[in-house]
Homo-oligomer: 102 residues x 2
Amino acid sequence: MFIVQVSVHVKENAIESFRIASLENARMSVQEPGIARFDVLQNREDPSRFLLIEVYRKESDAADHKQTEHYKKWRDTVESMMAEPRQSTKYSNSFPDDSGWG
Amino acid sequence: MFIVQVSVHVKENAIESFRIASLENARMSVQEPGIARFDVLQNREDPSRFLLIEVYRKESDAADHKQTEHYKKWRDTVESMMAEPRQSTKYSNSFPDDSGWG
């Protein structure tokens, strides 16, 4: 799998708005055939920090995702909510193998 | 869910050994009733960097995991492989809800 982890730090007054916008984006994203999972995690000690763990079947599926209307809406909606630029890192799965991601 | 993400940076000569030890630990860990997922990811740009994403059903399951023989074996096996101390961060799931983790 082609896995992208995005670390997000939002402004204190934007925590709930970010969560709502990201849930909407995640619900749409998991309907894309190239997306196996699209997890949204919130830091338990600092709720202004989130992780998006985006599990694509192949690299081109990540590019396709960025062409969707729901991604563009999310991107534009959250732009003003960032406390600092998002950090994105690419991973491959050692465990489980490709059959273990739904 | 009670999700722990562990960031690991191993020595260059320990990459494959760490991967093997962590696969063995992950295969055993997902058999624990309190563990929904136990993903091992490897950084695509720097293969000496790994993420463990440990998805526990509740906080006490994380403590139980540390009492297992397979955890203790993994901990002792990888101790000398670290290039720097491991970083651990705790998260809750915003998406999907608790039914979406297997």
